[in-house]
Amino acid sequence: MSLLETRGRAPTALRRRAHHGARWPWMLLPALLFLAAFWLLPFARLLQIGLSPDRTTQQSGYWTVVSQPQYLQSLLNTLLLSLAVTLITLLIAAVVGCFLARQRFAGRGTLLALLTFPLAFPGVVVGFLVVMLAGRQGVLAQLSMSLFHERWTLAYSLSGLFIGYLYFSLPRAIVTLVAASEKLDRSLEEAARSLGASQWRITWDVIVPGLKPALLSSGALCFATSMGAFGTAFTLGTSLSVLPLTIYGEFTNYANFATAAALSVVMGAVAWLGLMLARALTHAGGEQPS
């Protein structure tokens, strides 16, 4: 009797449990509809407009991007700049992250807060801060004036952009790397040291592999944001040849929608490839026996 009863009850319980979770597609629907309407469709439209003929060359937008040297130059500038910013950001953030994760001193919390507080600054503000630092009236100009009697201004060139992107990326990378360094197993380093490894080998063979997932993820994010960082570039000078400014110029000054759309697609694709590459590398590392 009791056996029959449990048998009779089990399917309803199961059904009810399945029923609890069965609404998940419906609950996700509003968010997904919003995404489809205002992100997927616009991006599809960009892809499509990129195919239409350019105003000057009469070729499709994509072909114009590939065949005109000024667009390739802009793409190359952006790519090299983003790569350089990513490498330097990771290097500095790894050193600062290791240091802050291991040392305990008075004011450490304040220091960390000060280092990460510019995280909320938009690109325009970062651009303005670069002007304060290295513009015509900036600290650098005043210092070089008093020391060498010449005025150094870096702000309105690619080096100014480099400083700005670095300023923008550092807080994000430091947050990630401090957290990752705190989780490192220090006994591994002690073991390596007792086996006679030099500090250089310990850094390269123990610390860097331990930080690898964090380095890859923050590096990919830094690369993607640098590829599309519009605000900083916009404040520092609209004549610089980097992708966001080229796109903006094509769109507003020349109403060249086809090329602007094609360039946006290329920019998005490069940023996306960077993210995918980082993920592939992380997974490749994860499958190795540790």
Partner: protein, 271 residues
Amino acid sequence: MKRRALFCLQVGVTALTALFMIVPVVLSMLAGVTENYFIGLRSGLTLKWVDQVWALYADTFWLSLLIALCCLAITVAIGLPAAWGLLKAPPRWAARIEECLMLPVALPGLATALGIILLYGRFSGLRDSWLFILIGHVLFTLPFMVRPVLAVMQAIQLPRLEEAAASLGAGFWRRFFTVVVPNCRNGILAGAFMVITLSVGEFNITWMLHTPLTKTLPVGLADSYASMRLEVGSAYTLIFIVMILPLLLMLNACNHWLERQATRNALKELA
């Protein structure tokens, strides 16, 4: 010996980085209250630049606030159900969908904005209103609401609570509003501060979507940097920093609280 040199190098790099991050902010805040920046602090301190900015750009401040609050309302309204859906979805699907929601953040905002203009720009009623900017902000901030809420849902073992409520006869919506939402309030709070901070500071999308009548604070900032005295730009930056600082402090406090709670829950689980 070598370790000592390495330590000094680390201290040096950290100190330089801190200077690099802080010096320009301090300079800019000082410039905003200096009579004449080209002469320096000797010329005296004044609030006239701040007054001037407020007279010129007060409407950008209010519009930014309005957009941020509306953005918060929408991200809560569609983000909470989405987080619950991700919790219940099969893990493979959940990972894919979460990635899709991250796309507007991961890919350049300029491209997103261009696509939105090219597709929806012809509807002039929408194009001219601030709702156009709101769309971009919701796209950009939605993942920052979904992720903390989902993290809290996973930490507190929501399904168990829900089953308890269901066994007592509570229907789906009743469970959602009286069990799910109240139990996620810390995640919602952390997400809310993040959403407001990001929305107030968003520029890349907003610049493309704004019209002369719908300027937000960062758009006004770019405007003043391009066409005004250095002191005016600095005073405006000062106002911006004063606006986001409390938000950041609250966000920080929220995250600390969440972390502490997570460790407490983990300990309880072990016991």
